[in-house]
């Protein structure tokens, strides 16, 4: 293995790893390099990235090495990540959105009755994100506020109208299917030895 190849394999490993990679781990994965080799390669890479002034550097942390973006660029990276975070709903948020979507207009007590837990916090977040809105008060004791979904809700989930929401029973068939494959469901078959006739047949060793 050429030196340059080794270096680039180490680079690929560092890039794809979920955690800071130790030189020990690197030498375990690439069989023909020692821990010392790995240490040298990583040191070289580190200096190289430092001098190249690219978008990211190799950082020595927690007994290992990992690629991180350059601190100077943090302001842009944060912008990217903030947007990304906004793009997901929490479990609670998703549950409440589902209850409002399917039972609207619905009051907070009913949402909490279905979920079995206090839902004030996530409800506020959903209002702030404009996925649900207040749609008047219920004509009932205490006149509780009623919640409905918004147009932003439709956009967020990529549908045109509330009538496009799948009915539970419509997709229950899919939800309850175990992901088992259809067709003739036999992959392997044990055949007792003795019946031959096959010209090219190797027994298991």
């Amino acid at each position: 293995m050429a030196n340059n190849d080794r270096k680039h394999i180490v680079e690929a490993l560092l890039f794809a790893s979920d955690f800071p990679l130790s030189v020990k781990k690197i030498s375990e994965i690439i069989e023909d390099i020692t821990e010392e080799d790995a240490a040298e390669i990583v040191r070289d890479l580190r200096t190289e990235y430092e001098n190249l002034e690219r978008g990211f550097i190799l950082r020595h942390v927690a007994g290992g090495y990992e690629f991180v973006t350059r601190p100077e660029f943090a302001v842009w990276v944060k912008k990217l990540q903030a947007e990304r975070r906004r793009s997901r709903l929490s479990r609670a948020g998703l549950e409440i959105t589902a209850i409002v979507a399917y039972r609207q207009p619905v009051n907070r007590a009913d949402i909490e009755k279905v979920r079995g837990v206090d839902s004030g916090g996530p409800l506020r977040t959903l209002l702030e994100r404009n996925l649900i809105k207040i749609a008047g008060r219920e004509k009932a004791p205490g006149r509780p506020l009623l919640y409905k979904t918004t147009d932003e809700f439709l956009r967020f989930f990529g549908i045109n109208s509330l009538s496009d929401l799948p009915q539970l029973e419509e997709i229950e068939d899919i939800i309850q299917h175990d992901a088992k494959e259809t067709g003739m469901a036999i992959e392997q078959l044990h055949v007792a030895g003795g019946n031959s006739g096959a010209e090219e047949m190797r027994s298991t060793d």
Partner: protein, 237 residues
């Protein structure tokens, strides 16, 4: 000594038929139905003798083949100007369409393999659940996730009832009022979702009785577009 033999799984009747056609080097546009039917049935018989599970669609196809075979045996009275349709026509079209998709699926498998040689940056997928949610690039979540969340939350309620044995104090009158109140703010109520999704059996019973009573008093209208479809409750106008 024992041999372990790998058997390929046929995805469905079309898959099996295409295999028989290829094996027999048959012209797909002129399938000898008698021959193919015989081989198809033999195959099913073998599967059966091996106690393999046979999906219903395979049996339906066997019947279709028999029907086509019978039609082809019938003497044909050719009327003037009348175009006689080959009884195999639809089957052949379906087979060709399936073959097209099967070929495409094989290509997709190649794409998948090539793409699996590339790994994205680490630390992006911490666990399974994250991975499943990873695709929404356009700040969008899937509607499937929403329904599944709703389904799960209702399931949880059903499970809970095994722990609490509190009879609900609700009366039929209260439930009747509740239904009418809901109909004040919305056009219709889904029978399954609003009324039958409460975990406690007693509540379901009370709800059901309330609906019957309201219907009797002509305060609500119940409708269902087709058997087994959702039942909707409307205000009686």
């Amino acid at each position: 000594m024992s041999y372990q033999i790998k058997i390929n799984v046929f995805e469905g009747p079309y898959d099996l038929l295409l295999f028989l056609i290829k094996k027999g080097e048959i012209d797909i546009y002129d399938i000898p139905i008698a021959k193919i039917s015989k081989e198809y049935l033999e195959y099913i018989a073998i599967m059966r003798s091996l106690d393999l599970e046979i999906a219903g669609e395979f049996i339906v196809m066997a019947a279709t083949l028999m029907r086509i075979k019978a039609k082809m045996l019938l003497p044909i009275h050719v009327e003037e100007e009348e175009e006689i349709e080959d009884p195999r026509r639809e089957l052949v079209q379906n087979l060709l369409e399936y073959q097209r998709i099967k070929n495409a699926a094989e290509q997709f498998e190649g794409f998948e393999f090539r793409s699996s040689m590339h790994f994205p940056r680490g630390d992006t997928v911490k666990d399974e659940t994250m991975e499943a949610q990873d695709g929404d690039f356009d700040i969008q979540m899937s509607i499937y996730e929403l329904v599944v969340a709703y389904h799960a939350v209702l399931q949880k309620r059903v499970e809970k009832t095994y722990h609490y044995v509190l009879p609900d104090p609700a009366t039929i009158e209260e439930k009747m009022e509740e239904i009418l109140r809901l109909l004040d703010v919305q056009k219709r109520i889904s029978f399954h979702q609003h009324l039958m999704s409460h975990g406690e059996r007693i509540i379901i019973v009370i709800n059901f009785l309330a609906i019957l009573e309201l219907a009797k008093r002509k305060q609500i209208r119940i409708s269902q577009s087709q058997p087994f479809r959702n039942i909707w409750i409307y205000k009686y106008i």
